[in-house]
Symmetry: C2
Subunit: 384 residues, 2 copies
C-alpha cells in the first residue's frame, strides 16, 4: 500500500448549464485539474456518474469523457453508487494508486440534470431506492428522507424549525464560493415558511438538482516528488453498505454504513472525531446531515440537530460542516457531489478557501447513496 | 502488487428468467461462488451491470445485492462500461486484491433484460453509443456493427456467409453447456437464410438479450493457501478505451482499445498470442469476433474471418474461441457477459469443461463496451 496524494483539482460552477453537455462539463474540470497537477495524462480515469442513462441517454460515459478530454486510449470506467458515486470513484482511484498499479489517476464526478423536467428527474432519482419495495410505491429520496425526519422529530422531540440551522449554514457558506449555485443567505424564517416538498421537508431543506463536474488528480509519492505545489494526502478511505430499503433496517435513525465506513477511515488515518477540523457531509437533506454527524461520532444519537442549533457546525464552531455551501448551497449534481466535497476539503487544507477559510489540518468527507445504504468516507491531511 | 487467484465461481443459466429479479439471480450466483471458494464473506463486492436503471428502474444495485446475498454492510460498488461492465468489474476486483487492501473480493455481473419488450431494450442498448452523434440518429449497437461488417466485407472482399463459422461454432459449443441459452446447433445454410436485423447482420449473427448472473471470488495468495481446490491465477489484466463514436476513429476496422489492452495483458503475463490456448472474445456480433482476433494478434488485418473459415476457432483449432457458446450461444446478459467469460476460461483451465474440454493452461477473455470503445482483457493461468 503506497501513499496517495491529491495534486490537482478542477470544478465547474454548479448551476443549470443549458448550453453544456456532461462531456463538456467533465472536460473543463479535467483540463483544469491536469493543469494544476502539472501532468498531461493519466494511467486511468474513474468517472462517478449516477444518472447519465436516465437523464441524457448516455451510458458508457467514461470512455466518452476520456476521448473528449484528450485522453483517448486511457483506461476509463464509470462507478455508480447513487448519490455516493463521486465518493466511490475517488475510493477506486485511491485503491488503484495505493496498489502500485497506477501512478496518476484522474477521478471525475459529473452529472447533467437540467435536460429533463422535474418529475422525470425525481423518477430518475428514485432509482437509488429499492425499486421493488420502495420505488414502486412512489417513494423517492425526498419522500424517504421525510419519513426519516418525521421519525427523528418524534423520537427526539424536536421540530421542523430546529433543522433550519443546517440550511442557513450551507447557504451562508455558499455566498463566498464562486462555484456555488445559490450564493445568497437564507433566514430561519424563510426556512420555516418555505413550500413543503414532502412534509416535513421543504424546498429550503432540499439540495437542488443541478449540472456540474469536478475532478481530482491522484498521484503516488514518486510523482508528487516532482511537483512543486502543495498537495493533500488521503490518509483514510473506507466504504460500507446497509440495506437499501428503510424498512429492512433495525434502527433507521442510525446510519450503519456511515458508521462502519467512518470507523474504517478513522482507524486507517489514526485519528478520532475530535481531530477532524472540518467535515463535508452528504447534506442532500438536513436530516441526513444530522444523522451523519451522529454516525461519525460528532454528536450522540439524537443530538445532531442540537449540535447545529448550538452553532457548532459554523465556520467558527467545533466541527464546521458544508464549509463551501455543501450540497444544499453549492448544489447537488448527484454523481459529482462526492468529488466536489473532496475539492472543498482540499481548498480548506491548502488555505485556499478565501472568506470561508477555517483553521484546518485534517478534513473529512462522506458521500452517501440513497438514504445511506452506501457510505464512502475519506480523511485528508494538509501539507503543514 | 500481489498475486490474485480465482477460488470460486457460480452462474445462473442464461435465459429469459420471467420469475426472477436481478437481485435474485445475482444472489444465486454469489452463494454458489462463495460455497465453492469456501469463504463466507468478502471485503468487497464489485457489480458489473450495464442497464439496470433503464431496464428495471434500479440503480444503486451493488448495495442492494450485497444486502440480499447476506453480505449486509460489505463495501459494494457498481461498475459500468456498457458491454464491458463485467470485465471492468473483474479488473477493479483484481486491482483491489493486488493492492493488498482487500483479501477476498466478490465480482458479480448481472443483467435483467426480459422485463421490457424489444424496442425498449434496443433503446437501452443504444446508450452505449455516442448519444449526441450516434444514438440521436437511431444508431444502436446492431446498426453500428452492421456498418463495421459492411465495411469489412468491402475492404477485405468477403461475403456475409463467410461470417457463418463464428455463429456455427458458438452454437455448437453451447450444446454441451448447461448454462447456455441456445443449446442447439445451427448450419451455415440457416445462417444464410436468417432474417436480417440490420443488413448484413442477421438474427443468427446477433447475441441475444437475456437474463443472467455470474460471480467469481478473487483471493490473495494468503487466502488461497488455505483452500483445497485447484485455483486459477489472473496473470494479466489490462483495460483501454477508444473513441466511442465510430466516425471519430481513424481506421474503424482496427480495434485500438482491444489492441492496447491485450498488449498490456500480454506484457504483464509474459506471453504471446501463440501461447494462448483458448480465447473468449466479445462475440456480440461475428464482426466483433473477427476484429478482436485481429486486434489480439491471432490473425493479421482482414484475416480474422478467414481464420474462422479455416476451422481454426473450433475446439480442435489453433485458437478455440467461444468454447462454451460465447455471447451468441450462451446468451448475452450485457453487464454479466464479462464474468461468464472468466468462469468459462476457469472451467477449461480446471478441466471442468466436459465435452467441450480443450487442452489448456493459459486462457484469455476480452470484454468490449459499445463497438470496442472500452476493452478489458484478462489472461488466466491454470494450476498445472
Amino acid at each position: 500500500m503506497r501513499k496517495v496524494y491529491i495534486t490537482g483539482f478542477g470544478q465547474t460552477r454548479v448551476q443549470e448549464h443549458w448550453g453544456r453537455s456532461a462531456r463538456d462539463l467533465a472536460t473543463s474540470s479535467i483540463l483544469e485539474a491536469l493543469e494544476r497537477a502539472e501532468v498531461e495524462g493519466a494511467d486511468a480515469l474513474y468517472v462517478g456518474n449516477a444518472l447519465g442513462g436516465e437523464l441524457t441517454g448516455q451510458e458508457h460515459i467514461a470512455a466518452l469523457i476520456a476521448d473528449f478530454a484528450g485522453l483517448t486510449g486511457t483506461e476509463a470506467v464509470r462507478v455508480e453508487a447513487a448519490g455516493g458515486s463521486g465518493g466511490a470513484a475517488v475510493r477506486l482511484g485511491y485503491i488503484a494508486v495505493a496498489s502500485g498499479l497506477q501512478n496518476v489517476v484522474i477521478v471525475t464526478g459529473v452529472e447533467k440534470m437540467s435536460d429533463l423536467a422535474g418529475p422525470a428527474v425525481e423518477e430518475a432519482l428514485a432509482t437509488s431506492a429499492d425499486e421493488e419495495y420502495e420505488g414502486v410505491q412512489g417513494l423517492s429520496p425526498v419522500g424517504l428522507s421525510a419519513l426519516l425526519m418525521r421519525r427523528y422529530m418524534h423520537e427526539y422531540d424536536c421540530e421542523r424549525r430546529d433543522f433550519a440551522p443546517f440550511s442557513v449554514n450551507s447557504h451562508q457558506n455558499a455566498v463566498n464560493n464562486e462555484y456555488a449555485m445559490f450564493r445568497r443567505p437564507i433566514t430561519v424564517e424563510a426556512f420555516e415558511k418555505a413550500r413543503l416538498v414532502a412534509d416535513p421537508i421543504s424546498l429550503l431543506d432540499s439540495a437542488p438538482a443541478a449540472d456540474g463536474a469536478a475532478t481530482v488528480v491522484l498521484c503516488s509519492e514518486q510523482v508528487v516528488g516532482t511537483r512543486k505545489r502543495a498537495t493533500v494526502e488521503i490518509v483514510g478511505s473506507a466504504s460500507a453498505t446497509d440495506s437499501v430499503a428503510l424498512h429492512d433496517r433495525g434502527n433507521p435513525l442510525f446510519l450503519h454504513a456511515a458508521h462502519e465506513s467512518v470507523q474504517g477511515a478513522y482507524a486507517q488515518a489514526g485519528v478520532a472525531p475530535e481531530q477532524i477540523d472540518l467535515f463535508e457531509p452528504h447534506d442532500a437533506f438536513a436530516i441526513l446531515s444530522a444523522l451523519s454527524l451522529e454516525a461519525c461520532g460528532f454528536a450522540s444519537e439524537g443530538q445532531g440537530v442540537r449540535l447545529a442549533m448550538e452553532g457548532e457546525i459554523g465556520l467558527g464552531g467545533s466541527i464546521p460542516i458544508c464549509t463551501m455551501g455543501g450540497l444544499k448551497g453549492r448544489g447537488y449534481p448527484v454523481g459529482a457531489a462526492g468529488v466536489y466535497q473532496i475539492i472543498e476539503v482540499c481548498q480548506q487544507l491548502l488555505g485556499e478557501a478565501g472568506a470561508n477559510q477555517v483553521d484546518a489540518w485534517v478534513g473529512m468527507t462522506q458521500s452517501l447513496g440513497g438514504t445511506g445504504a452506501t457510505a464512502v468516507t475519506h480523511i485528508l491531511k494538509g501539507p503543514r
